[in-house]
């Protein structure tokens, strides 16, 4: 390993470490999972410990898209557009079973998993997921960010 690649890999590590503690999230909240998302974000569970305490309400300022709640076919183009507007590097978290698979909404109106529309990095199952599982998913996402896993 040459000196140049040593510095490059160490620089990537440093960038990954910095990024994983500065998660600016865009909460795309459409349904009841939003309550659990709020519970997680508030002081009792405090996602600010993981550097994810500041939601941005513009996709252009966000790093992580939190898709929280059922996505209908009517809503799907909006979600895709929000995802396309985010600057890279960007990650997506599917929050709750409805975003993961459609959940029990196996009907004419509901998208059967948002991974049919946009790429997903972390799936958090549950109906709704408990704050502990949200934090678990968030830490898994941090590992992924630190390892430099991202799509361009």
């Amino acid at each position: 390993m040459g000196v140049g690649s040593f510095f490059t890999s160490k620089l990537d590590e440093a960038i990954g470490w910095a990024r994983k503690y500065s998660i600016f999230q865009y909460p795309f909240v459409t349904a009841c999972c939003g309550m659990e998302y709020m519970a997680t974000a508030c002081s009792h569970y405090d996602v600010d410990r993981f550097g994810a305490g500041l939601p941005r309400f513009s996709p252009r300022q966000a790093d992580v898209l939190f898709v929280v709640g059922t996505i209908s076919h009517k809503m799907a183009p909006v979600l895709k557009r929000v995802y396309d507007q985010m600057c890279e590097p960007k990650w997506v978290v599917a929050f709750g079973v409805c975003t993961c698979t459609g959940g029990f909404y196996d009907n004419y109106a509901t998208v059967q998993g948002i991974d049919t529309i946009i790429p997903v990095d972390v799936y958090i199952p549950g109906c709704p997921p408990r704050p502990e599982s949200v934090i678990d998913g968030l830490m898994k996402l941090q590992d992924k960010i630190a390892a430099g896993a991202q799509r361009y």
Binding site: K74, A109, T116
Partner: protein, 165 residues
């Protein structure tokens, strides 16, 4: 005014246009012919004894393959009326055939009928003649068919984007 008296008053007004009436668990229902429904609604709203000033719900039922009604009209359009001053209520039904699925609109009587009728059109495909703006309410314009009909396949998907299933 109790339920049977409401039915009697409506029947006296409608005559032969009142087809049937029944009562179950304290709820009274009058089945009205399609040509009499607007008169029944307007009379129920305007009459001092009835004073049904609130259209609580307007919906429809698909009776396709319903036991005992295989040959009858496919749809029921259901009106739930409530009177705030008298605290009484009644249910009116209109039966319509599948190939002639339309009902005159009630938007001139209650403004809320506008959206309720759009929802019934959206979900059941029953048209409301005279409606000012009969577009889909909940689904998108590109949607084909009416999903609350019993013959709509439960697994059919019509996504705007993403894979067609």
């Amino acid at each position: 005014m109790d339920g049977s008296a409401i039915l009697a008053r409506l029947r006296a007004r409608l005559g032969a246009r009142a087809l049937d009436a029944h009562e179950r668990l304290g709820d009274h229902t009058l089945v009205v012919a399609r040509e009499g429904i607007v008169d029944a609604l307007a009379y129920g709203r305007g009459d001092a004894e009835l004073r049904f000033d609130m259209l609580m719900d307007l919906t429809a039922v698909d009776y396709q393959k319903f036991p005992g009604r295989e040959d009858g009209p496919r749809f029921d359009v259901v009106y739930h009326l409530y009177s705030i001053p008298h605290n009484h209520r009644v249910r009116l039904k209109v039966q319509v055939e599948e190939d002639d699925a339309w009902v005159p609109t009630a938007t001139s009587l209650w403004p809320i009928a506008n959206w309720l009728e759009r929802e019934v059109w959206d979900m059941f495909g029953i048209r409301f003649e005279g409606h000012p703006d009969l577009r889909r309410l909940l689904l998108y314009e590109e949607f084909v068919g009416h999903p609350l009909r019993k013959d709509y396949p439960i697994t059919r998907r019509q996504p705007l984007i993403g894979p067609k299933v």
